[in-house]
């Protein structure tokens, strides 16, 4: 296993470097920079010193250096938890992302736990009650979840919450806790507000997972060893848990790697709709204003989450099921 961990880690480090390089270069590709729009605004107001101000701002943000210099300066700063200055408010990126990053991690973690828990229970129920009412109901809910875009579900819940229950669903905490340090009351407020975003973002992922788990488990349940076990008089629970469930859960575990980036990118529009103070809306704004340091930092975090998710799922799979696959050839 040490061999496996070392090889996977060795792949991870250059992967993260290459992703951050590509992302940084792509964000820099469009013509102009984050100062351009600020200067256009000053010129439209008739500010005679606008062009001189542009040079000052470019020097401040390091835009007078080559893109390679800026990249290596930025990536060097990452080790010091210093991601440079954001063009939007001329404040360090680390100050802008602090609480948002934490809230995003909390929200995404809750979403993933929701997806796993709900889809595991419903998927197993649907497979063990094939073609019964419960199976049809789970399939119907699953297809609904797949078909309804997250942002639309968010809008519907906003409307229903406001019109029928008189509650505001937007935000991740009550207004009085915004910009306040963490306290027990703030924690409770965040926990209450997390429910709706978690359901909205998690629904589509849950639907996909239910379908996959149901299909895998049905495949296993139809195999000969299950029939033999049933004929020998094993209890249905033992017959389900001992082998079929264990095998059917492998693709479930393998999905962790895809789940993390899907949840992060899938939550951007929902966060805008529900006014959630997470990284998504800020990333969108950073990309629109060509705020390279801020956008690259966000995307680096997404890449780190993806790579860590892949590592966790690969390690779990290697530990749970170290079988050779059909067509996979060993080195020796």
């Amino acid at each position: 296993m040490l061999n496996y961990v070392a090889r996977r880690l060795l792949l991870m480090i250059p992967t993260l470097f290459v992703i951050s390089l590509i992302v940084y270069m792509i964000i820099n590709m469009p013509p102009g920079d984050c100062v351009t729009s600020q200067i256009d605004e000053l010129l439209s107001r008739g500010d005679a010193n606008a062009l001189a101000r542009a040079d000052e701002l470019r020097a401040l943000y390091g835009l007078d250096h080559s893109v390679w210099y800026r990249f290596f300066h930025w990536i060097g700063g990452v080790f010091r938890w210093d991601f440079g200055l954001s063009c939007q408010d001329t404040v360090p990126v680390k100050d802008l992302i602090g609480e948002r990053l934490m809230l995003t991690i909390v929200m995404e973690s809750c979403t993933i736990i929701f997806i796993w828990t709900v889809s595991f229970v419903i998927g197993v129920y649907a497979a063990t009650h094939q073609y019964k009412f419960g199976d049809y109901a789970a399939s119907f809910v699953g297809f609904l979840g797949l078909a309804i875009p997250n942002f639309l579900l968010a809008l519907v819940l906003l409307y229903v919450g406001k019109v029928y229950f008189g509650v505001s669903i937007g935000g991740l905490m009550d207004p009085e806790f915004i910009e306040k340090p963490m306290s027990w009351d703030k924690f409770v407020s965040v926990a209450k507000h997390l429910v709706i975003p978690t359901i909205v973002i998690g629904t589509s992922g849950t639907a996909g997972m239910i379908r996959r788990l149901r299909a895998n488990l049905l495949d296993e349940l139809q195999k000969q060893y299950v029939v033999t076990g049933r004929a020998k008089g094993l209890s249905p629970f033992k017959l389900l848990v001992k082998y079929p469930l264990r095998h059917a859960i492998n693709p479930f575990v393998a999905d962790i790697g895809h789940l993390l980036p899907e949840v992060v990118s899938g939550s951007v529009i929902v966060s805008v709709v529900l006014s959630l103070p997470t990284m998504g809306p800020m990333l969108l704004n950073a990309l629109k204003t060509q705020d390279v340091n801020l956008a690259a930092t966000f995307l680096l975090f997404v890449a780190v989450l993806t790579v860590i998710g892949m590592l966790i799922s690969d390690l779990l799979l290697a530990a749970l099921d170290p079988r050779i696959r059909f067509g996979a050839a060993g080195e020796k």
Binding site: R8, V78, R80, G330
Partner: protein, 168 residues
């Protein structure tokens, strides 16, 4: 059965050394050359420890020779062990791959006999097949229950073990 003396081939050991040193440099150089935030430093230091352990493991492999005989498998070297086939109480054959399609991977055999230290052998070892075949015979003789993964991996190597059909 005549004794077979087996060891890891030089190219496989060198590849592992290159991986270990590469990993140590990737994790260690930023720690040495850059001012690093505390918890990022912790992550890098953990990575460095993993690669350092990997380097030590490779060194142990280089210094170890495996002597396969009809009754025993002796791992002769630092952290050595003696597996008595007649007292085998653990056998696991796992397959690992870092590729998404799980091709181009390697096997790992884990065996232990009562009272002895566990021995882990990778498929890059010369004569790996002979050891696995002997271990499978011993597992059969000792009526050891093998995991599903081990049975599948044994079958993929063309080795069958009687009494290890799919059971529930």
């Amino acid at each position: 059965m005549n004794s077979l003396v087996l060891s890891y081939p030089r190219h496989s050991l060198w590849a592992d050394y290159i991986r270990a040193v590469g990993g140590c440099l990737l994790c260690g150089l930023p720690l040495l050359l850059l001012p690093v935030e505390r918890w990022i430093g912790l992550i890098l230091a953990s990575g460095f420890v993993v690669f350092a352990l990997f380097c030590v493991r490779t060194l142990l492999r280089q210094k170890t020779r495996y002597v396969l005989s009809g009754d025993t498998l002796a791992a002769d070297g630092p952290w050595g062990s003696l597996i008595e086939w007649g007292r085998l109480d653990r056998m696991k054959l796992a397959y690992y791959s870092t590729k998404r399609d799980r091709s181009g991977g390697w096997m790992q055999l884990v065996i232990r006999s009562a009272g002895a230290r566990t021995v882990k052998i990778d498929s890059s070892l010369d004569g790996f097949y002979d050891i696995v075949e002997r271990a499978a015979q011993a597992a059969e003789a000792c009526e050891l229950e093998l995991s599903h993964a081990t049975r599948v991996n044994l079958r993929s190597m063309g080795i069958s073990v009687a009494g290890q059909e799919e059971t529930v």
